[in-house]
Symmetry: C2
Subunit: 169 residues, 2 copies
């Protein structure tokens, strides 16, 4: 099959997206590194834990929520644990499993870092968008996520299913 190249419109959109997303991630990473001493993903780990009952989540659930690989999460949580922001417990119901728990100190760090983070996101993104554009942004990327969810990466045919496992109290 002959390649369906991008149209000029699509090219421009793609380039704009790539440039902006790189700049945006860099900006956020730098800001959080400065004010909280950690990169964006690490902050997101704390944030995710903070929003969940008991502030505890199975490693795999956390990884799935953040769309990152398990080894990456293992490494990150190890660092956060060393810093005292997260504690690790083993899951009682499933001896294989382990659970990450946000500590009080982790919660404190998160709360202290949150305003600066939100301000950065606002300044870089939302302050520049109209309300309609906010809606457009959500629609576009929700659609992209749906398309990518669970597809291996190419021509796989793995039927995808979601487990709703409890966080193992």
């Amino acid at each position: 099959m002959t390649t369906r190249w991008l149209s000029p419109d699509e090219q421009r959109a793609w380039r704009a997206y790539i440039a902006a997303s790189v700049l945006l991630e860099d900006t956020i990473d730098r800001q959080l590194q400065q004010e909280a001493g950690m990169p964006h993903v690490y902050y997101s780990i704390l944030a995710n834990l903070s929003e969940v009952p008991e502030r505890r989540l199975r490693m795999t659930e956390l990884a799935e929520g953040l769309k990152i690989t398990r080894p990456r999460l293992t490494y990150a949580v190890a660092r956060l644990e060393k810093d005292g922001l997260v504690r690790r417990e083993s899951c009682q119901w499933d001896k294989r499993g382990s659970v990450a728990v946000l500590t009080d100190e982790g919660m404190a760090v998160l709360e202290q870092a949150a305003p600066g983070h939100v301000e950065t996101v606002r300044a870089a993104l939302f302050d520049r968008l109209t309300p309609e554009q906010v809606g457009q942004l959500e629609e576009i990327f929700t659609s992209v996520t749906e398309g990518l969810q669970g597809e291996g990466g190419g021509s796989e045919e793995v039927p995808w299913r979601r487990r709703s496992s409890p966080s193992c109290s």
Copy 2:
């Protein structure tokens, strides 16, 4: 000043964007790693070089175009040079400078990898968007790039200027 938190709409948009952009980058990285043996940024380096007269660019111009740091580019070009896809020449007009040149082999690798890459981008993104959404995407992220261009990261006041240096033939 009290924090201006994100509204529910903004929250949803932000989460959708983060999730999708992570998934998208991962998908592209994996595809290119498989089919071209290199991550997305490396591919972009080749692509940028291919679009420019003489297929040569000063390191800094290249880094600016890709929105990546100089050390990162140095490392990447070193690898690409080792693979024979890029050659490095020193700039005659400015003895400090060095120039990256896309080799014929690099061009060949690029051309061979391009269709698969475009197909991935299409499948993940453009095939799911209406023409209006393509326009919206461009507008939103062009605006974000403009906002972020040249700002250090926070409260700096550095007036930004662009040099239009020739690529040092």
